[in-house]
């Protein structure tokens, strides 16, 4: 076992006194790619928001590189769900990606040549260099997702968290994202992605975290995706067919999850 890059131990989170995550413990080794899976309202977004310091937690501890959360400034990048920002804002694609550099720039400083170079590289990596000067209000959903990921890459993170990046995007964008994830693995960047797509989680990720308010299973897809554990996580949304086939009925985020995002 390599030294853990990200350690979460006995962390609980509550919104207005209502527990959303209870006693969550898991370790992510250096450079691993983890899929966070669970039903709507399981606390996947909440977990990510805690990890980037957007939400407070109770008890336990979170360590990055063995240091408490907040100790490292530019270490964690977060790609939120697309609908969290107003895409009618008067910005170009490269303006948005440049925002990823702001954390390093510091007060009163303007972007340097190097920052522009990083932005250009990230746009190319996401195959959207041709959109650099395009106003963001003209982008498709898949292009928006690429812009967000390019911005996260511009932060040059050690840990990358992506919230539902594969929801409602075209197949080319999904392939581009998977290709970039492979490049990130080569750079030893640790990646956590929440997704509804269980087969994607099983096929492309080293580990799966099955979550429903608490950790139900954590390990390889084979270890985690057992009938018993899936039943425990998804409950009534699960339909077990013969020969071990499992169907999960889940399409749109319900009202509760949308509210928790607001």
């Amino acid at each position: 076992m390599q030294p853990a890059q990200l350690e979460i131990e006995h962390v609980s989170v509550a919104y207005n006194g209502q527990p959303v995550l209870c006693d969550v413990t898991f370790h992510v080794p250096h450079g691993a790619r983890v899929a966070v899976v669970g039903p709507n309202g399981a606390g996947k977004s909440t977990l990510f928001k805690v990890l980037v310091g957007l939400l407070p937690w109770h008890g336990g501890r979170i360590l990055i590189h063995g240091q408490p959360l907040g100790h490292h400034h530019d270490c964690v990048a977060y790609v939120p769900q697309r609908e969290e920002v107003d895409w009618r804002f008067p910005l170009t694609v490269s303006d948005v990606v440049m925002m990823g550099r702001y954390g390093r720039l510091g007060w009163l400083k303007r972007p340097t040549k190097e920052d522009h170079e990083v932005v250009r590289r990230c746009l190319e990596q996401m195959r959207i260099a041709d959109l650099a000067q395009r106003p963001i209000q003209e982008l498709s959903g898949g292009q928006q997702q690429r812009v967000f990921l390019a911005r996260a890459l511009a932060q040059e993170p050690h840990i990358l968290l992506m919230d539902e990046p594969f929801t409602a995007i075209d197949i080319t964008t999904q392939e581009t994202i998977m290709a970039v994830l492979d490049e990130l693995r080569a750079q030893q960047v640790t990646v956590l992605i929440s997704t509804h797509d269980l087969s994607l989680a099983a096929a492309h990720f080293d580990r799966v975290l099955l979550l429903n308010r608490r950790v139900i299973g954590y390990g390889t897809a084979q270890e985690v995706f057992t009938q018993k554990q899936l039943m425990e996580a998804f409950g009534g949304q699960l339909l077990i067919l013969g020969e071990g086939a499992v169907v999960i009925d889940q399409c749109c985020a319900p009202e509760a999850q949308r509210r928790s995002r607001a």
């Binding site: 310091g53 957007l54 530019d74 977060y78 107003d86 008067p90 170009t92 954390g103 720039l105 009163l108």
Partner: protein, 293 residues
């Protein structure tokens, strides 16, 4: 034509009025871009009304009205930030409560003054022709201060407006910046009191920004175009007021509104007229799949 333009300049009060309007027009338009993009129109309006008690107290104490307004505005800006910070009360509710309370207090205080009606009219709708040299200096200083702050914190204000979540993960002091922006807005409102008054500040904040939004694609350009529109409406409004003897603040706002309407209808691509035409073309093309075009 030239004498028509230069004739008003013979009067000192018109020179001062034009200069004040010009500064206020530009200042309101630039910060107004953030007001439009962040949906702060209601806050701007509330701040303007909330200033009333400050002015009334300054008047009763025979102090400087602008300083009284300034103190009240900063207090209310911080109050709005404080009440809505914890999320226990929604921001617009907090604003609604403070705004109505402060306005009532202001009217109550002013109603104790004998020349109630005249003074209230000046405060509500501005009295740009009554600008003194001292007022002009204060307006100038505040304009430079606010514009310089917006320029210095350009990228920080941009991030907290577009994506506050990113701003937090970049460890920017989001709350602090939000308060700073409210204070800048409060200063702007105070500066605008002289020219357009409490009742019309919101229009000067929102209208040029909304117009510029329809014409531009990036924030710096939007600010520049808004500033031009703000400056033009201020100056032309004042000329209209001079020659037709109508209320200056109202004239300024109506010029800005007229520009907005024209742009809203005819802005390239985004204008209602082009969209309507495009929609009709689409319908025609769909109806007959022949070589109609």
């Amino acid at each position: 034509m030239i004498t028509w333009l230069t004739a008003p300049l013979a009067y000192g009060f018109m020179q001062r009025g034009l200069l004040a309007s010009l500064m206020v027009g530009i200042l309101c338009a630039v910060i107004g871009c953030y007001v439009v993009l962040r949906g702060m129109a209601f806050i701007g309006d509330a701040l303007a009304h909330a200033i009333l008690p400050g002015i009334a107290i300054a008047y009763l104490l025979k102090g400087n009205l602008l300083i009284g307004a300034l103190a009240a505005a900063v207090l209310v800006a911080l109050g709005i930030g404080f009440f809505s910070r914890q999320g226990t009360i929604k921001e617009d509710t907090a604003i609604g409560i403070l705004f109505a309370a402060a306005l009532s207090l202001g009217v109550l205080l002013i109603s104790t003054i004998r020349t109630y009606a005249v003074d209230l009219t000046h405060i509500l709708f501005g009295n740009v022709l009554g600008v003194s040299t001292g007022d002009l200096w204060l307006t100038g200083a505040l304009t430079v201060l606010v514009l310089a702050t917006i320029a210095l914190f350009y990228k920080e204000f941009l991030v907290i407006s577009f994506d506050p979540v990113l701003a937090t993960t970049l460890r920017l002091p989001v709350e602090w910046l939000r308060h700073l922006m409210l204070i800048l807005l409060a200063l702007t409102v105070v500066v605008s009191l002289q020219t357009v008054g409490v009742g019309l500040v919101a229009a000067m904040l929102v209208t040029p920004g909304a117009t510029a939004y329809l014409l531009t694609r990036r924030l710096p350009a939007m600010m520049a175009v808004a500033a031009l529109i703000g400056a033009f409406s201020s100056i032309s409004g004042l000329y209209i007021s001079f020659y037709w003897n109508v209320a200056s603040g109202a004239a300024v706002v109506l010029v800005a509104t007229a520009i907005f309407l024209v742009v809203f209808l005819f802005a390239p691509q985004r204008g209602a007229f082009w969209q309507w035409r495009r929609g009709r073309q689409q319908a025609v093309l769909e109806r007959c799949a022949e070589k109609e075009h």
